[in-house]
Each structure stands twice: as C-alpha cells, then as structure tokens.
Amino acid sequence: MIDCDIHHVIADQADFLSYMDPAQREWFQTRGDLGLPGYPWSHPFGFANDEGLLEPGYAPGALERISREALDAYGADVGILHANDASTVSLMASPYRAAAFARAHNDWVREQWLDGEPRLRGSILCPAQDPLAAAREIQRAAATDDRFVEVLLCAGSERPYGEPRYLPIFEAAAECGLQVAIHTSGEGMGIAAPGGGAGAHTFYIEWHTVGSATSVMSHLVSLICNGIFERLPTLKVMLLEGGVAWLPGLLWRLDTNWRGLRAEVPWLERRPSEIMRDHVRFSTQPLEHTDGHDSLLFEMLEAAGAPDILCFASDYPHWDWDDPKFVINRLPKAWRAKVMHENAAAFYGDKLGLVTA
C-alpha cells in the first residue's frame, strides 16, 4: 500500500531554524508561525487529530507516530510526506524569505525525516511566488537526495498554475524526474487569491466544502488549457485533497467547452479529459460520503477514468483523514489494488525505490 499524503509538522522550531540561513534566522524566530501566512478562519476543534490517534505524548505528525500510526498500523510500503502549514511558504509576501524557508525545510526533511524512516519519501517545497528561484531550489534539493519524489505546491496561489509564469517550476520538476503535487491549502492566505471565486469565505466549513475544491479545479483546468502537458510530455501532476465527486461534471463541461472554444487553446489537439487521464492523478481523500449512493459515485468516476486516475491518500493526521481500511471497503473490489498501490507506483515510477518481487 502506498499512502500519497502523510503530513508532518514543525514541532520544534529551534531545531527547524538550525537549518535556516543564519543571516535570516532572527527574522523567522521573531514571527509567530515562522512567518507563514494564516487562514482568516480556523477549525472549530483543531486541524490535527490529536485526540483520536493512538498514543499521546508526541506532537502530531512526529516521526515516531507516523511510523507507528500511519505506516505500521496499515502495513504501508511507502508514505509520501507533505508539509503541513509550511506548504503555504509560496504565499509569503517576501519571496526572499520564502526561498530561505523552502531551502531550510528541504534540508530539514532530508535529515530529520527521510533519514529516520526508510518508508517515507519526500516532497520539495519551493518559493512558487518567484518561479525562477523556485526552479533553482527544486534543482538544488533534488540533487541532494533521491528520496525526494515530487515538488509540492499548495493550491492557494496568485494565479492558476498553468499560467506561463510558473513554467520554470514545472520544467525544473520534469528535468529532475520529479512529479508535481498540488495540495489543497492556503486559499485566501497571504498573497493568494480568495478561495471559492465569490470573495472570502466566512467559515472553515465553507472553505472545506468549496475553497479547498475549487482551487484544485482551477489548477487542473489551467494546466490543461495552457498546454503544460504538451510542453512537458513526461510531466505528471497529483491533485490532493480537493475531492473527486465533482470531477466527472467538470470534465464534461471542459470537453464541451473545448469543442466550441478551442480557438482560444488551439494547441489542445485532444479532448481535455483525455489529456487529464494521461497526466493527472487524484488523491482519494477526502472521498466524499454519498449517503448510500456509493455505486452512483463510482459509476460517475469510472466515466472520468477511474480507477486508473485515483491514488489512495490518508491525509494523516488531520481531522478528516481517511482510514485505509474504510476506503478499501468502500472501493469496488476490482479497483482496490490499483487505487491502494499500483497507480501511485506507476505515477512515481523508479523514484519510489520500491523493490518489486
């Protein structure tokens, strides 16, 4: 089993800051939250599932807990580690601070996490608000360790990631043989556009229903329409935590619009949905609850390319995480091996370093 989304947190700021450029360390020390932007609303009882998980005594997402609760407990072969709050580094006002943060974070991940747990693989943070600097950091970090398997971008952004300004990020990822993960987070934070498309949300429940999904939709459509996959044929993108039940409808809209509006994007010679199937994967979590209509959900998803486009993710240790056993039991039997393991193994390829029997 491969878990495509395990989160870790910076529990010990002093330890983290030991990786920081000394000339910038004081600036980060004197900010709350290490200078990262914050949401204007907050979860009513806590983002991380401290109460529900097995053993107290460790910070949520600390290495020992990840090993035991996310990997051992479900027999996971590999877990892909994603920054928690730190994924919003690309929404800091200062691209210079963001570059320093990302660099420190990548080095810290390598030494403090990947060295400590052989089943974990890392994702590279980058200052996406400065795409040339981001590309340099991707190249630097990738050269330091083969256990980095992807670049992590948060779905909160100034503009959708298909915009040509972001091209250096995707080019650097492709050059380094890395895939790109775009993970829901940061919509409306810092320099990001407001989530949802109708102005700022009032509540966390609104963001978690709308803002966290529409950002992912926007990136998907933008990447396809701007021809990123025509430019970079080896590039693959994983969209995380934006949900999937909306996907068939979005693709039907996009394909229909492409037929009539193709003149805007004449470089798309295939239906957008076909491009998506070849290049984009979706995390299962949070797999929408359907109030008894699971068979309808899976039939719709099949029309969009499932099971090949779905990869299991738990989102450990967040409050809305999906228990692997729960997901396996919901999935159609014929989907289970692909969704729980094979699709992610194909997505990351040799980078995953899996020993195949």
Partner: protein, 117 residues
C-alpha cells in the same frame, strides 16, 4: 436514391456567398468556399443539437503550440450556435470526429446550381 436537383442560380449564390435551399424534406446550404471559390453543399442541420449550421461563418481554423497561435490551410464552417467547426469536404466535425454532417456533390449547369441529394 440520390438525384440531381436544380436548387439556385449561380449568380444568387455568388452574390450572397451562400444559399439555403430545400430539397425534399431537407434544408441544404450551398456555400462559396472563399479559399478557392468552389461551391460546397452541406445539410443545414448541425448534428450536435440541430442548429442551422450553414448560416455559420466560414473561417480559418487556428492551430499552434502552447502559447503560440498559427492558422491552418483552407476554411471550415463554424456552427452559429455553439461554435463547433466542420470540414467542408468530408462534413466531419473537427471538434468531435464522432460527428459528421451530410455533404452533397455540387455542379453548375447553364448558370444554375445543382446538388446531388
């Protein structure tokens, strides 16, 4: 059984660039292809939702590479309602090759336009 039908005067078609004519129960559009002056005839019914296809614009279709636009050779017919484009010779919908509109042979005899329908 197809047969030739005298549907319009050539002068009329050239003056207006097109003529919408009725043959039996069908509406057919006779269009002057601006790329070479030839006449083309297609059924005036878009296979998408039945719109009057032959009232659409004859235009040059774009192609390109990401971020760079160029133009293809020849002209295509763009449906006036939803913008789907059709090849004038084969009738194939270029935006959904599973769809096709009927096309008809055209000839001119003594200043009159005939279609084989």
């Amino acid at each position: 059984m197809r047969e030739w039908h005298d549907v319009a005067s050539l002068e009329h078609v050239i003056r207006d660039g097109r003529a919408i004519v009725r043959v039996g129960g069908r509406e057919i559009g006779v269009l002057v292809d601006p790329s070479d002056g030839s006449l083309k005839a297609l059924r005036n019914r878009c296979p998408h939702v039945g719109s009057p296809l032959c009232r659409g614009t004859l235009r040059t279709r774009e192609s390109g590479t990401p971020g760079a636009y160029s133009l293809e050779e020849g002209k295509v017919l763009r449906c006036p309602h939803h913008g789907w484009e059709f090849d004038l010779v084969s009738g194939v919908c270029l935006d959904d090759p599973g769809m096709r509109v009927a096309v008809y042979e055209v000839k001119v005899l003594g200043g009159r336009v005939h279609v084989l329908a």
